[in-house]
């Protein structure tokens, strides 16, 4: 027997070896182990049917059957049949047959990922620093974790990375010509039209450098399918797995709706013994990168190649299952708990989300943003909200009379699952905040911890949604409603505390308060945050103090505000911007750049009363950009609009610009799917030219009027809280009007308007002062 130490890197079912486990050793070398791993599931139902199942399974090879009692999260102890199957491969076949023959029985613990079963059985976790004892043939005897997932600063291996990307996007007008490979300080450009040389190069890198991680752009949808095809055509073997005894794992493409938006996930290529991450085919990976994904894997138990591509919801579901396995609670198969009955009045009170107020429109001085940290997760933890505790009737239950519901006192599955993660995120957040930004260690700490914090943030955010998600194994809409209800109560409590301390609460947005007081110092805002935390028992952070904050109105009516359209600019560049053109993914780069340039001008002025003095500079930028557009000097790439196809192309009755562009691609043999982003250029009213067609659009056909309007709207969007009207801006930019204007023209001169009448402070706007 030999011992190894390293990190639990990968594990999967093997047709002959049972379970294969990969360790990245402390010496940097990969080690492969295997183990016979029994899979257990449970079946409930009428006794005669269970007896029939017993007879059916008894004939199957090496299956062990035991009568047992297990705990159902909602219904308490259940008499069940325990079925133990030797090996994951046999289990998949056997369960399929069982389910087909006995569809009427109730199944538990059947669709649990193998990694979770292993982690629960061996008390380890993926990417754990661990010690392995194994026989010389690789048979794993024992594995012990040397750290815990909650470790604030875990020791991680130095992974060898190979980055592969085409020299241009595969969907672009001219197909890629080279594959760029970066590894271990080397950079290679391999021509794609020499397949033998290309495959020889990649095989050489894989065997000599032996990367742990292959990070690609378009690896799932283009590169690996292409390499496989080239390998077939040339007869040159190519096997990107580290484990050559099993094939590459492939998953099909999917389209789905999430929060009302169509999403598309392309086909996937998963490797065995090493990771493949296609950054173009991931949902949230871009927000936190490899470090954040490793953190998510450590916390959730979902293998990294899965976790990087899937939504964080899958991670939360896995965490719930892992907690259930460790608590020896049954995990139901396609079985949900129904809604607890409520009256119509209770429905009206309960069926609502977090509280969002409408802020006043205008610019406000000295505004601080206070954020409850992981508010929904913290509420679940603090109030023990979990699908099984909501509606419980024990004596110590906490009652919410408005909703006619009680929350039980027995520790809930959800709080137990979330607490370690929430605590870790909070600790990292507070650690980063405690460091002085001028401290040379700040950058390295931020670089180290920010991805971890962001990876955890996504998990805590979706945990709340999962409570009310219809397909969630442990979901229950009542629990979701209770969390929403408590969040509204808590934020209103925080508002009252702030107002008692003389602050003006400008805005509330679910878990954030925007407060101002002209004379308040940083200490005053921090004291307020501390008091709110003390009173509500939920962690809250003073996010930042801005010298001024602009809240914007709707496009149709500038007197009606929008909750999530605002900007606050800070001299250090850490702006807070939501809902304006430059944040929207469908805004062309040229328009976004124009808006950014104007915001950069405004950011120079900390005194809101003097902002209007910067208008001439801002307008000069807008004029310059319009002039470039008029002279057709803007590169076409900067005018590209990117929009999501919200339904399948065949379902469009009216062809909008995006649908028209998608149709052009379809005629060229491409197959745009719902959820995919389509890039195009506006070429006329209701018409567009798909950017990914082989032929570039004629620059003379670009719809200048449309882009001119987009520039105008983008400029107006950021200037209107200063008192600018659209007519005034239009006159100034397109009509050649001067700054001379009667006071009556100014929206902000209306004494009933809440916005600061900033224009009153600049002389050249007043006819009478000239």
């Amino acid at each position: 027997m030999k011992e190894y130490t390293g990190w639990l890197f990968d594990l999967y079912a093997h047709p002959e070896k049972g379970l294969v486990v990969w360790l990245v050793g402390e010496d940097g070398r990969p080690y492969r182990f295997h183990q016979d791993f029994e899979i257990t599931f449970y079946v409930g139902g009428p006794v005669p049917r269970l007896r029939e199942l017993w007879t059916f399974l008894r004939t199957r090879e090496k299956v062990k059957l035991v009568r047992t009692t297990r705990e159902d999260l909602f219904d308490g102890p259940q008499d069940l049949m325990e079925v133990r199957v030797p090996g994951p491969f046999k289990y998949q076949r056997l369960f399929k047959q069982t389910r087909e023959c006995f569809p009427d029985l109730i199944y538990y613990d059947v669709d649990i990922p193998l990694s979770l079963r292993f982690m629960a059985a061996r008390n380890v976790f993926l990417m754990a620093h661990c010690k392995v004892a194994a026989q010389p043939d690789g048979n794993l005897i024992d594995i012990t974790a040397l750290d815990v997932p909650e470790e604030l600063d875990p020791q991680l291996p130095q992974l060898r990375k190979l980055a592969l990307s085409p020299d241009r996007e595969p969907s672009s007008k001219t197909p890629p010509r080279y594959l760029l490979a970066k590894y271990g300080g080397f950079s290679v450009r391999a021509p794609l039209d020499k397949p033998r040389e290309l495959l020889a190069l990649l095989n050489g890198i894989l065997s000599a450098y032996d990367p742990d991680v292959i990070q690609t752009r378009f690896g799932d949808t283009w590169l690996f399918p292409l390499l496989e095809e080239l390998s077939r055509q040339t007869g040159t073997p190519f096997h990107p797995n580290r484990d050559q005894s099993v094939p590459v794992l492939r998953r099909g493409e999917v389209t789905f709706f999430n929060y009302g938006r169509a999403h598309y996930r392309g086909p996937q290529v998963h490797l065995r013994g090493r990771w493949h991450i296609d950054v173009e085919n991931c949902m949230t990976y871009g927000a936190y990168g490899l470090l954040g994904a490793i953190e998510q894997t450590r916390i959730t138990g979902v293998p990294l190649q899965e976790m990087a591509r899937r939504s964080p919801g899958a991670g939360v579901a896995a965490m719930q299952s892992l907690t259930a396995l460790r608590r020896k609670v049954l995990i139901p198969y396609q079985h949900q708990k129904g809604e607890i009955r409520k009256t119509y009045a209770q429905l009206v009170r309960a069926d609502r989300g977090g509280l969002i107020l409408q802020p006043p429109i205008g610019i406000f001085a000295n505004v601080a943003v206070l954020d409850f940290t992981s508010m929904m997760a913290s509420i679940m933890i603090e109030f023990n909200v979990s699908p099984e505790t909501v509606g419980a009737e024990d004596e110590a239950a906490f009652e919410i009379p408005e909703l006619g519901i009680k929350i039980g006192s027995q520790p809930g599955l959800m709080p137990q699952t979330l607490k370690p993660m929430r605590d870790k995120r909070l600790a990292i957040k507070r650690l980063l905040k405690s460091l002085d930004k001028k401290d040379p260690r700040y950058r390295s700490c931020r670089h180290r911890y920010k991805p971890v914090m962001d990876g955890l943030k996504w998990l805590t955010v979706v945990a709340y949604g999962r409570l009310g998600f219809a397909n969630s194994t442990f979901g229950r809409i009542n629990a979701h409603e209770v969390v929403s209800y408590l969040s509204r109560k808590v934020i209103l409590q925080a508002k009252a505390i702030a107002e008692d301390r003389g602050f003006t609460v400008l805005h509330l947005y679910v878990d954030s308060l925007f407060v101002s007081r002209p004379d308040a110092s940083a200490e005053d805002f921090q004291t307020l945050a501390d008091e709110i935390e003390r009173e509500t028992h939920l962690p809250i952070e003073l996010q930042k103090i801005y010298p001024w904050f602009a809240f914007l109105g709707t496009r149709d009516n500038p007197n009606i505000s929008v909750a999530n359209r605002f900007y606050a600019l800070s001299a250090d560049g850490e702006h807070k911007i939501r809902g304006i053109a430059l944040r929207r993914s469908d805004t062309p780069r040229f328009v976004a750049n124009t808006q950014t340039q104007i915001l950069n001008i405004l950011a120079k002025e900390p005194d809101p009363a003097r902002l209007a003095g910067l208008l001439p500079e801002a307008l000069a930028v807008a004029r310059e950009q319009l002039s470039l557009l008029k002279k057709r000097e803007v590169p076409l790439e900067e005018l590209v609009v990117s929009q999501t196809l919200s339904r399948e192309l065949s379902e469009y009755s009216h062809f909008s610009a995006v649908a028209s562009a998608a149709r052009q691609l379809q005629l060229r043999g491409k197959s745009p799917r719902m959820g995919q982003r389509i890039r195009f250029i506006y070429t006329g009213p209701g018409t567009a030219h798909a950017w990914d067609l082989p032929v570039a659009p004629d620059p003379r056909t670009v719809d200048l009027t449309r882009y001119r309007e987009m520039i105008l709207r983008a400029v107006y969007e950021v200037l209107h809280p200063l008192g600018m009207t659209e007519k005034m801006l239009r006159d100034w930019l397109f009509g050649g009007a001067s700054y001379v204007m009667s006071v009556g023209e100014l929206g902000s001169s209306d004494p009933t308007k809440l916005a600061l009448p900033l224009f009153n402070d600049i002389k050249y706007l007043h006819v009478d002062s000239l």
Partner: protein, 97 residues
């Protein structure tokens, strides 16, 4: 997930839509005033939706009163400041004489 009940904005817009026949029968000058009231109502839509024990139409007049009060208060404040300024100017003028 999806909710059974309409959003705060939808609740208020539906209520305003209910007033359409009343609105249409008003003179243009009155409609413009009502438009201002509706703006005020929309500015408080979250608070209206938060009052789940009341019908939105019951809360909407309070919102209009609230905003009217604020506007009056602001106008009185400005008038008062103007009057004080005038009084000071008269005092200065009188003292110079």
């Amino acid at each position: 997930m999806g909710r059974t009940l309409p959003s705060a904005t939808q609740i208020v817009l539906d209520e305003l839509d209910e007033l359409r026949s009343f609105y249409d029968a008003l003179r243009r000058s009155d409609q413009l005033i009502l438009d201002k009231f509706f703006e005020d109502v929309l500015q408080h839509r979250a608070a209206i939706a938060n009052a789940t024990n009341l019908l939105p139409i019951e809360v909407m007049p309070f919102v209009m009163l609230l905003e009217a009060y604020k506007k009056n208060d602001r106008a009185f404040g400005q008038l008062h400041a103007e009057m004080q300024g005038l009084a000071r100017a008269i005092e200065t003028f009188a003292s110079k004489r």
